[in-house]
Symmetry: C2
C-alpha cells in the first residue's frame, strides 16, 4: 500500500531529454528493467552518491566518468545492484558503458551506469547488452512514465514529479523520477533519482542547486535507517528552454547562486525532490502511514536532526503508529535517548497533529486519549516536538513499521 | 520463544540478602508484581542508571537516595514505569519509599524505588502501599526465584544467574536477576537488574566492579536500539561471606582494583551480568535467534562498537536472520554505513559461524549458498567481521526481527 499515492502526475517533457525503456529479463522475465536516458550535447549534469563505504561498482564508475566528461547517456538497470561484487563488478559496469557507447557513437566515459536490486550477485551483462538496442530504439521525449516504471524494485507504484516555473520570462520545466522503498536512509541521495530541467545553468551553480535540494528532501527521509549501497541522484540542465522575452532564443544562463533566478529554479528542484522523497516514504516497505517528524525550538540544526531521527528510527514508535496507538511514552523515550546535551525535559512539548499530548515534559493536562486516537486514525500524521531551547527546526519524513515490512524483507533478497 | 533459555539456574543464597514478592494487582490481578529486596546493615550498594534524558521518577529518586544513605531496601514494581509523570511521579515514588520505611523502621532515604511497565500513567500508589506488608511478611534468603518472576513485564521467562568463586580462601557467591525484553539498548544498564554478593568490598572498588561488568555485558546488547527510561542495575556486597582461612571470620575486604581478589570477583560479577544480559536478548521481543556480532581487527574500540551496532541495529539484517537467509549483502551494507573513517572495504572479511562469506570485500570464492544456509538454521549464530585495520575487537549481542516483534509492540502499550 502506498500512502496517498495514486499514480504518476502529468510529466512535462524536458527539451533535450529522451528516455527509452526495455524488458531485458535481468531478474524476472517480461518486466521493464532497463532504462536509457539520453542527454543532449551541451547540457550540464551533476550528481550526488551514497556515502556508504561499501558503495556499488556502478557508483564508482559513474563518479569516475562524471569527473571526465559531460554525460550523454544514463544507463539504469533494476534486478541486480552490482554491489559487493569487487573488481569484476567494476569491469561489468564498464562493459555495459562500452556497449552503450558503441550503440550511440559516443565515448564510454559519456555513459553513467546505475544499478538497483539484489546485492552480491554478478551483473548479467549479456542480458543488459542484448536489451540495449530495444531501449535505444524507443527513445522519446515522452518516455518519463515508462522510465519511472522501469527503475522500480520493491516499489509498489512508480514515482514522478514535474512542474513548470517562470524564470526571467522563460517557462522552465523540472521533471524527475525516483525509486526506493526499503534500505532507505539516504546519506546523500535516495536509492535512485533522475531529475532534468531545460533551464540554462552553470555547472557549479547546478551542483549547489542539487546539494541544497537533496539536503532538504532525500536526506530527510528514512524507512529503516539502512543506507543503500547504490544511492544516486542526478540533476541534468539541458539549457533548451526558450525565452519569450528573447524572441525564442535560449534563456540567459544562471551564473550565480545569489540571483533571484537561482532561487526560483532551486525552489522548483527542491519541490520536485521533496515530492519524490515523500513518494518513496509513502511507498515505504509495508507502510500504512506517512509520518512527518517536525522538531522545533532547537539550539541548532544538528540537535533538531538528532531528535527527529531518534523518533523516526525508533521501532517502538513506528510499531505504535502501525497500531494507531497514541503512545506518547515511546515518543518521549526516543527524544530522551537522542543524546542532546543538557536537555531540560521539563520544557518539552509534543503535539500529535493539533493535539497537545505532552506539556512541560509530562502528559498535557488537556489531553484525552480519544483526541490522540482520532489523529492516529489518519493516514498522514505530523508529530511536532518543541524543545524550548532555541529557534532552529527541521523536518524528517518516515513511515510506520508493520508486519509487511518483516514479510517483504524476510522474503525478498535485497 | 526464548532462545535456549529453559528456566532459572540454581540460585545460591547470598548471606545478608532476603527477598519477598507479592501480588499487588498493579496492572493485572493475581500476578506477582511487587518485590522487596532487603539488604543487611553494613552492606555496600552501587548502581548505574539509564542515560535517557527522559529518565523515570523512580530513577531520579533512587539516585538521590543512594547519594544520601546506604540502602536497606529495594522496592520494585512492574506494571507501571512511573515515567513521563513529571513532579507528581516523583512524589508518588517518594510516597512508596515512605510507606516501606514505615513498615521496616528505617529512613525513607534508605529505600530505593524501581518501576517498570507502561510509560505515562500515574503510579497506583495505594495498591503498592497496600501490597507491601504481604511482600514484607515473606522476606526470605531463598526468595530469588519468586523475585525473578515478580519483576517481569513482556518477558516470557524469568532471568537469573548465580555462581560461586574462591577469593583468598573464602567461598564467595554472586547471584543476580534481571528483566527486559523490548526497549532494549541499554546505555548504562539494562531495564532492571539486581545482583548481590556476600564478598567484602570497599564501595569505590565495588562501583568500579559494576562499571567494568556492565560495560562488557548490559552495555553490549540491543533488541531494538531503544534505550529505556527506567534502566537500572544495582550491585550489593554484603560482606557476610565466611572465611575458612580466618576461622569463620569475615573475609578481608577488597580495597584495590589492582588485586587478584578484585579480578576474581569482577570476573564473577561480569559472568553473572553477561548471562543475564544474554538472557534478555534470548528473550528479546519476538526473538527466534541469538546473534553475536563479533568485530575484530579494528583500529580502536570505538570503531569496532560502531560497526557492531550498525549491523546489530539494521532491520534488514535482522529480518534476513529471521528468514534464515544468509544475505551477506545486507551485512556489508550495514558495515559500509557505520561511518568508519577511510574504511578500505577491500580488506574486509565476514564469517557466518565458521563459514567465510566475504573475503577481500567481495563474495568469498570458496563460499557456497548451502554452507551459509546451514549456519542460518541454527538458533545461535556468530557473525564475525574482520576489519583488517588493527588489533581491537568487541562483541555485541542481539536477536532477529520477526512478525512477533511487530505484534507484541502493536498490542502492548509500553
Amino acid at each position: 500500500m502506498a500512502v496517498g499515492l495514486t499514480g504518476l502526475p502529468d510529466m512535462y517533457r524536458v527539451p533535450g531529454i529522451r528516455l527509452g525503456t526495455a524488458r531485458a529479463g535481468i531478474k524476472k522475465p517480461d518486466r521493464r528493467d532497463l532504462v536509457i536516458m539520453e542527454i543532449a550535447a551541451g547540457a550540464h549534469s551533476v550528481a550526488v552518491f551514497t556515502r556508504n563505504a561499501f558503495c556499488a561498482a556502478p557508483v564508482t564508475v559513474a563518479r569516475d566518468h562524471l569527473s571526465l566528461s559531460s554525460p550523454r547517456y544514463l544507463l539504469i538497470n533494476t534486478g541486480n545492484a552490482n554491489a559487493g561484487t569487487g573488481k569484476s563488478g567494476v569491469l561489468d559496469a564498464q562493459h555495459c558503458c562500452d556497449a552503450m557507447a558503441g550503440l550511440a557513437g559516443c565515448a564510454a566515459s559519456e555513459v553513467l551506469p546505475f544499478s538497483t536490486g539484489v546485492i552480491g550477485e554478478s551483473l548479467p551483462v549479456q542480458r543488459i547488452v542484448a536489451g540495449l538496442p530495444a531501449a535505444y530504439a524507443v527513445l522519446s521525449a515522452t518516455g518519463w512514465e515508462d522510465a519511472a516504471h522501469g527503475i522500480m524494485t520493491t516499489d509498489t507504484v512508480a514515482k514522478g514529479s514535474s512542474r513548470q516555473v517562470q524564470i526571467d520570462g522563460t517557462r522552465v520545466t523540472v521533471t524527475g523520477i525516483a525509486k526506493g522503498s526499503g534500505m532507505i536512509r539516504p546519506d546523500m541521495a535516495t536509492m535512485l533519482a533522475f531529475i532534468a530541467t531545460d533551464a540554462a545553468c552553470d555547472v557549479s551553480v547546478l551542483q549547489q542547486c542539487l546539494s541544497d535540494a537533496v539536503e532538504k528532501s532525500f536526506n530527510r527521509i528514512t524507512v529503516d535507517g539502512d543506507t543503500s549501497t547504490n544511492d544516486a541522484c542526478v540533476l541534468v540542465a539541458t539549457g533548451q528552454a526558450v525565452s519569450s522575452e528573447r524572441d525564442g532564443h535560449a534563456q540567459t544562463p544562471i551564473t550565480s547562486t545569489a540571483s533571484v533566478a537561482y532561487q526560483v529554479l532551486c525552489d522548483a528542484v527542491t519541490a520536485v525532490c521533496t515530492e519524490l522523497a515523500q513518494a518513496v516514504i509513502r511507498d515505504g516497505e509495508g507502510a500504512t502511514k506517512l509520518i512527518t517528524v517536525d522538531v522545533q525550538g532547537g539550539a541548532n540544526d544538528a540537535e533538531c536532526t538528532q531528535v527527529a531521527y531518534a523518533v523516526a528510527h525508533s521501532p517502538l514508535v513506528k510499531t505504535a503508529f502501525f497500531a494507531c496507538d497514541p503512545n506518547w511514552g515511546r515518543i518521549v523515550m526516543a527524544i530522551g535517548r537522542a543524546g542532546v546535551e543538557n536537555l531540560d525535559v521539563s520544557r518539552i512539548a509534543v503535539y500529535l497533529g493539533d493535539v497537545c499530548i505532552v506539556q512541560d515534559g509530562g502528559r498535557a493536562p488537556t489531553y484525552r486519549e480519544e483526541l490522540g486516537q482520532q489523529v492516529m486514525k489518519q493516514a498522514e500524521i505530523t508529530v511536532r516536538i518543541m524543545l524550548g531551547r532555541g529557534a532552529c527546526q527541521t523536518q524528517v519524513w518516515t513511515c510506520d513499521f508493520s508486519y509487511d515490512y518483516v514479510r517483504i524483507n524476510a522474503e525478498y533478497r535485497s
